[in-house]
Amino acid sequence: MENILSVLIFFPLIAALLGILVKKETIRVYGLTVAAIEFLLSLWLWFAFDPANSGFQFIEYVPLVSDFGINYYLGVDGISLFIVIMAALITLIGIISLGEVKDLKNMIISLLLLETAMVGVFVSLDAIVFYLFWEFSLVPMLYIIGYWGGEKRLYAAIKFFLYTFAGSLIMLVGMLYIAYVYQSVAGVWSFSLTDWYALVLPISVQKWLFWAFFLGFAIKVPMFPFHTWLPYAHGQAPTVGSVILAAVLLKMGTYGFVRFSLPLFPDAAVAYIVPVGVIALMMIIYTAMVAYAQKDMKQVIAYSSISHMGVIVLGTFAMNAVGITGSIFLMLSHGIVSGALFLLVGVIYDRRHTKLMSEFGGLASVMPRYAVVFGIMLMASVGLPLTIGFVGEYLSLAGFFRVAPVMTLVGGTSIILGAVYMLSLYKKTFFGPVTKEENKKLFDLNGRELTALIPLVAIVIWLGVYPKPVLVPIDNSVKALVSFMQEKAQTPEAKAIIHVSTSSKEAK
């Protein structure tokens, strides 16, 4: 399977198009089968992946517009591998979790199209192709929120679309400029990321390009103060939309930092550790407070996502392998955990058609299984050791500690504030006496819900106890990235701050 990556991208697309022909009665089985095959293919990718090789693997290269150096150029390394697998897994889980929704057929087609876009973003090595998938991912999501959403769905969908679109346009300008610089240096156009990596940009150019890309990524993450589209999107989106949005789509932003900002602009990235770090701290503390003030369960999880993304940003700008590996692992763990939490909120919403915490209380005695799964995810969310949440959070903070100890101390309040809003949510919803008559007869998790949730619980514990199989490939690619950044950096400050691991020094 030389072109496994193309298969991974286009299989859901073709399946989605064929899905139009499938009958309504069989569409659920059809969607499940397609998503399951896609997930198995992504597992095969992991199986065939050489963890010792830190570079890009399964490379595909087909010239598209040769005059402008635009190529269909794909590849996967340790950094993107697991995000691709997670995208496939979350899509599968999302489809499993679908209950009785209106127009199921269109929903499944939208989800499969979204899967194509997600996989495409994470395996593209050509800026234009990357950009196409990046923007394409907005369309199915716009449709999912706008068609299946709540009361204010149109407002939320349009806000989501325009806001992120505006940011990525500025990123596109940055991309065009890099290609232009490349052309003036090398004499030919190229949008290949690997060509761009070789380009040593003057510091002043790096600095404004850094912010151009930053805007595109920051809105996607979303970073404070560009985050206000997210609560609306989550508030209105159907459960499956929120799951995919939180688990995968947000990661496109932080992935962008690792793939573009760090290797392309190492000096600027080091120069802006403090401002970016301050924004990340704002995200962590401010949104944790806002999460605590929420009355709606889903909004708590939505704001908590922003808070956790702040820790990911800190890890990314740690400029050492510990922090960056941690931030990528945290992307995965946040994907699994926030995905599961949104599913769990969906469970109770399906039963009561409300997400207000004041409507509940005492659910632990009525729905014990639900309480257990929620409790496990809660503990993973607050970063309990031996759950998936701890590894990434610990490594991200540990890595960032090297460049900014005091900021890490401030950012570390995430472990306190996270516990504050999550435990208060759990207490309001699950503890205390059952006060509402309608809650007394609620039925516990059913088979479909358990099928969606149990794999996530298993992953949360497995990767919490034994994260090594995932950490090692990530870490290898990250070490190579850090060494590369260090070599490429021009300013002495950047050379000093970017910290190459001794093990990768020895390898040379």
């Binding site: 407070m289 510990v322 590996t325 090297r402 090594k468 090692v472």
Partner: protein
């Protein structure tokens, strides 16, 4: 030996998972029996390990890698040395007793199976905490015991929140959250300490870290010492992070005995003992620890003086004794701290289990003012609690006498007479409140009859299960010399000076005198009947003490409430009114400007020509400017 290590460690985990299988099912005798048996297995393995360490030496095993990133390599490694072996023996012994005891205590509880699952999970976490060979492994256990404590304090989660006047702990779920969050605050300090160690040593393994201590700068050592101690302050409930411990009494009483007296709360003391190479080289931080411990000793004892709640009195006494342990550890007498830790574990667990019997007999009534005269109906419980209280007061020849007296000797020997005096005074207070509790519960008039209680002694096997603790509370102190010889193979040997040595008999007399004095005062006041003086009870000092110095209310008013209000402002005023309004404002601006400029499109040809002319003129001007400039 490897298999013994793993048996001791994993038997409780297996028990916990087994009980968890039945977690949502009705009570099954199996869960209680199996978990208790597995705990016993773990205890036997721990004792065998203790023997092995005594005869051969420490055992070190590495299970597998855990976190590997950059140059960081953290294994699941376990090291059983002298300190760990002692901790393991204490933890598993008390746990086994508490497991057996709980079979009786939780007999009629709906959550019987769930309870045993949590309890065994706690023991597993505690063992990870004491057995790990690196700081992050310790942190696993550290957080693990935190979660189990959260689960167990909030075990009766269905209870409603009430006001502080009715129940100072508000509700089990409230107390559970409080404990978890307080501990998290401290854990942040601990994490920062771990980061500092990692980036300066390049490893988190104890042996490598402690070997690097001589090369580290003094400032760095002080910083690490302080941050690690902040972590210890949370788990061991030292001021100002102490309020959770008294509220934790909302949990079932066996939990209070195991977690909130004998094991988890001593984790902070364990950490300081474990990091003794570090703390030995920063005596000023050690001195601060000793001062804080001394303060907590008398601070907690003072609150116990006036409290009426059976369990809260014992909780404050735990807090006070933890202060003693920190005083000893801070002054460099690590082995004395460990000795008091072990002795305290035995008699305090016994005291709590006795309290559990009383609660059982009194239908969960906790107010000692409503008890009295129970020794007639609960003879064995009375004996156990009496012995435990005597041990706690430090009466010869019980365990507490040896351990507490040694701490006072250390304080005297260090010429820290202030610390000595406060600890000495606290010994008197301890004796008073302990026997106030004993006399008001077991002696004096039978006030319970008025309230319609029909107390009865607990099951025989429960009483038998308590016997090991009862015996150890008496005899443990007799092994002081052997204990010292054993643990000082690892810990620094603390020797008192010649001068202090001569003073020891006098010190013993003075200390015993104040302890006996405290008991006598309690006897005089309470052995016949409950004496209450409304004037004293209405006085300011009394109210300050009975309201825990108003600290919980202060925390609520100064921290929780403002935080909630600030959070509300952040959401409603800032996020909605400023940040989001700006975004929508920009969008509106674009829309409106588009709407305005749309009016140019009139469809009238002459209008278009006018605009075109205007545009042409602007372009021409720009061109001229450009030409002139170049």
């Amino acid at each position: 030996m490897e298999s013994l290590v793993y048996t001791a460690l994993f038997a409780p985990l297996v028990g916990s998972l087994f009980a968890a299988l039945f977690g949502m099912k009705p009570k099954s005798l199996w869960t209680g029996t199996v978990t208790s048996l597995l705990l016993f297995v773990s205890f036997v393995a721990s004792v065998l390990l203790l023997q092995h360490v005594m005869e051969v030496g420490p055992v070190h095993v590495t299970l597998m890698d855990w976190i590997v990133a950059g140059d960081m390599r953290i294994p699941f490694g376990f090291n059983v040395d002298q300190v760990t072996a002692v901790m393991m023996a204490v933890v598993t012994l008390v746990s086994t007793v508490v497991h057996v005891y709980s079979n009786g205590y939780m007999e009629h509880d709906k959550g019987f199976n769930r309870f045993f699952s949590y309890l065994s999970a706690f023991v597993f976490s505690m063992l990870v905490l004491v057995m790990s060979d690196n700081f992050l492994g310790l942190f696993i256990g550290w957080e693990g015991v935190g979660v189990c404590s959260w689960l167990l304090i909030g075990f009766w989660y269905h209870k409603e929140d009430v006001t502080r006047d009715v129940n100072p702990s508000i509700s089990p779920s409230w107390a559970a959250n409080e404990a978890f969050i307080m501990n998290r605050i401290a854990d942040l300090g601990m994490l920062v300490g771990i980061f500092l160690i990692y980036w300066n040593v390049g490893s988190l393994q104890y042996d490598e870290v402690f070997a690097a201590v001589p090369q580290m700068s003094h400032t760095l050592l002080v910083a690490i010492g302080i941050f690690l101690f902040i972590g210890a302050m949370g788990k061991s409930a030292q001021f100002p992070l102490h309020t959770w411990l008294a509220d934790a009494m909302e949990g079932p009483t066996p939990v209070s005995a195991l977690i909130h007296a004998a094991t988890m709360v001593t984790a902070g003391v364990y950490l300081v003992i474990r990091a003794h190479p570090l703390y030995s080289s920063i005596p000023e931080v050690g001195y601060f620890i000793a001062l804080l411990g001394t303060f907590v000793a008398i601070f907690a004892a003072s609150m116990a003086l006036v409290n009426r709640d059976l369990k809260r009195i014992i909780a404050y006494s735990t807090l006070s004794q933890l202060g003693y342990m920190f005083a000893a550890a801070g002054l460099g007498a690590y082995w004395v701290a460990l000795f008091h830790l072990a002795a305290h574990a035995f008699f305090k667990a016994l005291l709590f289990l006795g309290a559990g019997n009383v609660m059982h007999a009194m239908h969960d009534e906790l107010d000692i003012f409503k008890m009295g005269g129970l020794k007639k109906v609960m003879r064995w419980t009375y004996i156990y609690m009496g012995v435990a209280s005597l041990a706690l007061c430090g009466i010869w020849p019980l365990a507490g006498f040896y351990s507490k007296d040694t701490i006072l000797e250390v304080a005297f020997n260090e010429h820290t007479y202030g610390i000595w005096f406060v600890l000495w005074l606290t010994a008197g207070l301890t004796a008073f409140y302990s026997f106030r509790l004993v006399f008001l519960t077991f002696w004096s008039d039978e006030r319970y009859k008025k309230y319609g209680f029909h107390p009865h002694e607990v099951q025989k096997y429960v009483l038998w299960a308590m016997a090991p603790l009862g015996i150890l509370a008496v005899v443990f102190g007799w092994w002081k010399e052997e204990f010292m010889e054993f643990v000082t193979q690892l810990l620094p040997a603390y020797e008192v000076s010649e001068h202090t040595h001569h003073m020891v008999p006098i010190l013993i007399v003075v200390t015993s005198a104040i302890a006996i004095g405290g008991i006598v005062v309690a006897y005089v006041l309470y052995h016949k009947r409950l004496r209450r003086n409304p004037k004293i009870e209405a006085s300011l000092p009394y109210r300050v003490l009975s309201n825990q110095y108003y600290i919980p209310i202060l925390y609520e008013k100064a921290i929780s409430k403002p935080y909630a209000e600030l959070a509300d402002i952040a959401w409603k005023e800032i996020d909605m009114q400023v940040v989001d309004a700006t975004v929508d404002g920009i969008a509106k601006l674009v829309e409106e400007s588009g709407d305005e400029t749309r009016k140019m499109q009139t469809g009238n040809l002459s209008d278009y020509l006018k605009w075109m002319a205007a545009g042409a003129i602007i372009l021409a001007v720009l061109a001229i400017v450009a030409v002139v400039k170049s």
